[in-house]
Amino acid sequence: MNPLTKLVLAGFLLVLGLAVPWPGTYVLFIALILPLALAGRILKPFLVALFKLITPFAVPMILIQGLFWTGGTPVIGEGPLSLKAEGLLFSAASIGRILILASSFLLLSLSTRTDILMRDLVQRGLPNQLLYIVVTSLQILPRLQARARTILDAQRSRGLETEGNLFHRLRAVVPLVGPLLLSSLIDVEERALALEGRAFNRPGPRTSLIEISDTRREALARIGLSVAAVVIFVIRIAWALVS
């Protein structure tokens, strides 16, 4: 599937999920999202990632809302240590929305190579620089970590005590963060020089080595989904204003 279509689809699901009344989020999840994950052959990683993302929210929320809902009707347990119905319902609604939010994001990111998505967008006219920032931001963290470790080694070798009390650790910040920032800035300049040499800032259309498939049907589907999303959004707003 063309990456732009995936992006539009994910956006559509998000709008739909946030617009429907809360029990609908679960229906949407089971009826639409899970089958999509299955079709994309990412069901297992999808469920694993989803579980990891949602559980840290969901469990505390259920407990807190359930236990501390003032004036609520106990449904499980008795007295102060009971889970109240209203709290549980509230949690279910919130979790439903978070479920849709997380699912759309995960469906997109697990089924698409970011660089292919960005390439497609650039070919359609999105500025090159945006592609660059997004794709390289994903790579920055491991490099920064590796560099931070080397800097730590160098400063410890000059007598910087890093273990021990808070005072020591605070004093260690400047000699650790300073070189990280300064040398990263130099790298940025050198990288910018190199990019110029690859005609990065040349005005004009780009081509792609990798063929990114797109069909008329998909283009129509994208238009259809986008229109549907707008309509749903409008209906939802109208409903909220009226009721």
Binding site: R113, D115, N128, L131, Y132, V135, T136, Q139, D187, E190, R191, A192, L193, A194, L195, E196, G197, R198, A199, F200, N201, R202, P203, G204, P205, R206, T207, S208, L209, I210, E211
Partner: protein, 278 residues
């Protein structure tokens, strides 16, 4: 064909010019080495030959640099990239980061140039073969060794088929194996005469072995211009702080010890030294 006329340039915010009244003419296909102390102006000259001065670095420039007749001071940098390439000394910082495999990295410049897909793959593969990387097409650029990364930078520029290739200390961060690999690529490039090649380097023995011509820079001025032997045998070599290959120093030391006057040309390669000393 490179024509530099009366080029004087100062970086922004500096008083002293980095290049002074430089005049230089390089015919097509020549292989030129640039030597000089750190800060003498080698890198600045490399930037001037490729348009980074004045387009990237601003500053004040007078004089002209013409490549194949065009004044590159007047052509935007993005358009120059197709004809003039610059390879820098840090292999890691030349990885664009925008592509995930070696093959895509080499094709990146071609994509930016809008080259049609059918032509891209052959050009990329030719460049990878010229740099000995054809077996690494599917690897991540970050997984390569320093020498391989530097050859990748060269391949990425080669694929764009520039008429001029300039390299600013391409082996300064590399170990002996990487150095050997890069100079082998440079030697092949030189032999094929596909492009005019200009290389600034401190590894003088290596440079002398494969350059047709050496240019010596001191304090922003060209002080020497001739064959490697002519330049390194000059009496003013210390005054100009250009350095000499070790074999040249040995040759001169033997000359001095034997009380011989300056004979003219000193050896600049091991082979020449063995010839002269046997």
């Amino acid at each position: 064909m490179i024509e530099v006329r009366d080029l004087t340039y100062s970086y922004p915010g500096t008083a002293a010019p980095a290049l002074r009244a430089v005049n230089l003419s390089i015919p097509r296909g020549q292989v030129v080495g640039i030597v000089g102390a750190n800060g003498a102006g080698k890198s600045t000259l490399c930037y001037a030959l490729t348009g980074y001065v004045p387009h990237f670095f601003a500053g004040s420039m007078s004089g002209t640099v013409r490549v194949d007749g065009r004044d590159i001071g007047k052509v935007p940098l993005g358009q120059l990239a197709a004809e003039i390439g610059l390879v820098f000394h840090n292999p890691f910082n030349q990885i664009s980061g925008a592509r995930l495999t070696v093959l895509e990295e080499v094709a990146f410049g071609l994509e930016n140039m809008g080259v049609e897909r059918g032509a891209m793959l052959p050009r990329a593969l030719t460049a990878l073969q010229a740099t000995g990387l054809e077996h690494l097409t599917e690897r991540s650029p970050y997984s390569l060794s320093g020498g391989e990364q530097q050859r990748l930078a060269i391949a990425a520029i080669l694929a764009m088929e520039p008429s001029v290739m300039v390299m600013d200390e391409p082996t300064s961060q590399l170990d002996p194996v990487g150095t050997r690999e890069v100079f082998a690529v440079l030697r092949d490039l030189a032999r094929s005469r596909r492009a005019t090649v200009v290389v600034a380097e401190h590894k003088l023995g290596w440079l002398a072995a494969f350059s047709d011509r050496l240019i010596g820079i001191h304090n922003g001025e060209i002080v020497a211009d001739g064959t490697p032997q002519e330049v390194f045998s000059s009496e003013r070599i210390d005054e100009w702080r250009l350095g000499q290959p070790l074999v040249t120093k040995v040759g001169r030391a033997v000359e001095v010890a034997e009380g011989r006057p300056r004979t003219g040309l000193l050896p600049v390669t091991v082979e020449q030294a063995l010839d002269a000393l046997s």
